[in-house]
């Protein structure tokens, strides 16, 4: 975190990458340590270590992309890098929290930094819109969260996750209505942060307007962080009050799946398409939140990993293509297969991975989620999710058809080592985990 002070601009990104790699190693060192710090404000367990590792890894890849993404904007690179690092700090707080105040601070650190990044293309009206819209809606959701936390404190007398869980166990018959009100407010705020319907309206505009790199960051790290925090809340704290909130979550999951997939069909802008695809993936992940009682963290981690790898691979191809074509429509990919066959193949693999077709990790991720949901007797919800993923195949293939079926456009894509590196890493890992899911799935 101290690395932001570096004055030599060229060195910032390598230094940050090195720092992140170090943190990655240090983080893994905490495996199986299971202890809490600072009066039980943060708790390090395998769950948090695994997700922190994933978050740091994603950030690492994003920073590698950033070297080339910001070549034209050297004046601001230090600011942007600092803010991206703060987003990571917020995300790490969201994985490790053991206290609701830490959860709130983590979400706020992540969001406020993100509002700025969404609006960081200052002379682009779309980016301004994205930043402002995200800011207004996000602060509203934060208000909900804070009010919910306050009510939970009023009912249980503590911010501590385990003490709140104790309260729900001890007062099983007469849990205060204040607690339920607070719990629902917190759940709504979390639904907003993971962009689940009916709180998804910000997502397409924000993803569309933000700079492509920030969209990549948003759709990977931020989504994973929100889901991990949500999962932790549901699986540990609201465990005994789960019955009340389950129908709401199930309905939200169904609407999310329907809205995400159906709206994605009509999109022509690639970033908007990925935004709606992100919403539909939020729908699948909602199934895990529904089954959080059965400790399904393994499936959540596997799916997050698969989703992050595919999305990052897609952006590693898309960013240079957008730069060359000066457009972010799907038509920018027209005829990519003739100009850059390797990149076209890689993007196809990323899209197939997102659609959930073997041998990529996306397929097994979906498979495990559906199995878990069926085991918890969410039969109809799972059925809808399966239909939704069939619809999903159509719009992912729209991109592939544009690359292979359409005549080529003029724009020439710049080759760059960094993009190719990220692309390669993502595709290889995606296939590897798709074939050998065991080590990741049984990580907890």
């Amino acid at each position: 975190m101290v690395l932001e002070i570096f004055n030599v601009r060229k060195l910032i990104v390598p230094a940050l990458v090195l720092g992140l790699a170090l943190i990655f190693g240090l983080n893994l060192n905490d495996w199986n340590s299971n202890q809490s710090f600072f009066n039980n404000m943060v708790r390090i367990d395998n769950f948090s270590v695994a997700f922190s590792g994933l978050a740091i890894f994603v950030t690492l890849l994003i920073f590698i992309l950033a070297t080339d993404y910001y070549t034209d904007d050297q004046n601001h690179i230090s600011d942007y890098m600092a803010i991206l690092t703060f987003i990571l700090v917020g995300a790490l707080m969201m994985f490790n929290y053991a206290n609701l105040t830490m959860l709130f601070l983590g979400i706020e650190t992540l969001s406020i930094a993100l509002y700025v990044m969404a609006g960081s293309k200052r002379f682009d009206i779309r980016s301004n819109e994205a930043g402002f819209k995200y800011f207004l809606m996000g602060s509203f959701a934060s208000g909900f969260l804070l009010f919910g936390i306050a009510l939970i404190y009023g009912a249980s007398g503590s911010f501590d996750l385990s003490k709140i869980a104790d309260y729900t166990i001890q007062h099983q018959q007469n849990i205060s209505p204040l607690f339920y009100t607070g719990m629902f407010l917190v759940v709504f705020a979390m639904l907003f942060k993971v962009s689940a319907a009916p709180f998804h309206f910000w997502a397409p505009d924000v993803y569309h307007g933000s700079p492509a790199l920030v969209t990549a960051y948003m759709s990977t790290l931020v989504k994973i962080a929100a889901f991990a925090a949500f999962y932790k809340l549901m699986s540990t704290t609201f465990f005994y009050a789960f019955e009340k909130v389950a129908p709401v979550l199930a309905i939200s999951a169904i609407i999310t799946l329907a809205v995400g997939n159906l709206m994605a069909l009509a999109q022509t802008n690639f970033k908007r398409l990925l935004a709606y695809s992100g919403i539909s993936h939020a729908g699948y992940l909602m199934l895990i939140i529904l089954t959080a009682k059965n400790q399904t963290a393994g499936a959540l981690f596997y799916y997050s990993l698969a989703y992050a790898l595919s999305t990052l691979a897609a952006f590693a191809v898309a960013i240079p293509v957008f730069k060359a074509a000066k457009s972010e429509d799907i038509s920018a990919f027209n005829g990519l297969a003739k100009k850059n066959p390797i990149h076209a193949a890689a993007l196809s693999m990323a899209m197939i991975g997102l659609a959930g077709i073997p041998p990529f990790a996306g397929f097994l991720g979906k498979y495990y989620i559906f199995t878990e949901a069926l085991q918890s007797d969410y039969f109809y919800t799972t059925l809808i999710a399966i239909f939704a993923s069939m619809i999903g195949v159509y719009y992912y293939f729209k991109v592939i058809i544009a690359m292979y079926g359409q005549p080529a456009n003029e724009a020439k894509m710049e080759q760059s080592f960094n993009y190719n590196l990220v692309l390669g890493v993502c595709i290889v890992l995606s296939i590897l985990f798709g074939i050998l899911p065991g080590p990741i799935l049984n990580i907890f």
């Binding site: 943060v42 004046n75 600092a82 803010i83 105040t101 983590g106 650190t109 002379f123």
Partner: protein, 166 residues
């Protein structure tokens, strides 16, 4: 008895000033009524023995945020009634959703068995000293992390507002 009297005066003052905020035609008057409202709420905090909260409330809300609001109102020049009226449908939707929220909250508050009113006279938890003790022992990490949050917000503000040749 006298403390109860003060409470009623403060409560009436804060509710009335809050109503004036909403009903004033002139936005400047709204802002000034809001200051009155904040001060009366700060009075409530002192009644509850939360001096620290009262002072912070006055400094942050009545001081910083009100100045910000006044500036915004002046810069936007909202005095003219240029604001177009929202369609009836929006008003209705806003009313229904707001009313539903109120209903849910009221229902949950009503069915909550609140304990008997305990006089706050002898709690010292609101004193500056005690708040500081808790903040720097039990809540040390959140306190420090708040500074990270502020740095992020500050850098963000600079990034967005820095003058730039384009």
């Amino acid at each position: 008895m006298s403390s109860q009297l003060i409470f009623f005066i403060l409560a009436a003052l804060s509710i009335m000033s809050a109503l004036f905020v909403v009903f004033s035609k002139n936005p400047i008057y709204s802002v000034i009524w809001l200051i009155v409202c904040f001060f009366s709420i700060a009075g409530h905090y002192i009644m509850l023995n939360a001096q620290f909260l009262a002072i912070v409330h006055i400094i942050v809300y009545a001081g910083a945020i009100m100045v910000l609001m006044l500036f915004t109102v002046m810069l936007l020049n909202l005095n003219k009634a240029t604001e177009p009226h929202k369609p009836m449908l929006y008003k209705l939707a806003a009313m229904i959703s707001g009313g539903l929220m109120l209903l849910v909250l009221l229902a949950s508050m009503r069915s909550t068995a609140l304990g008997a009113y305990a006089s706050p006279a002898y709690t010292e938890s609101g004193y500056v000293q005690n708040v500081g003790m808790v903040l720097f022992t039990e809540f040390l990490l959140p306190f420090e992390m708040t500074s990270v949050l502020f740095i992020a917000a500050m850098i963000g503000a600079v990034v967005l507002a820095k003058k730039e040749v384009h």
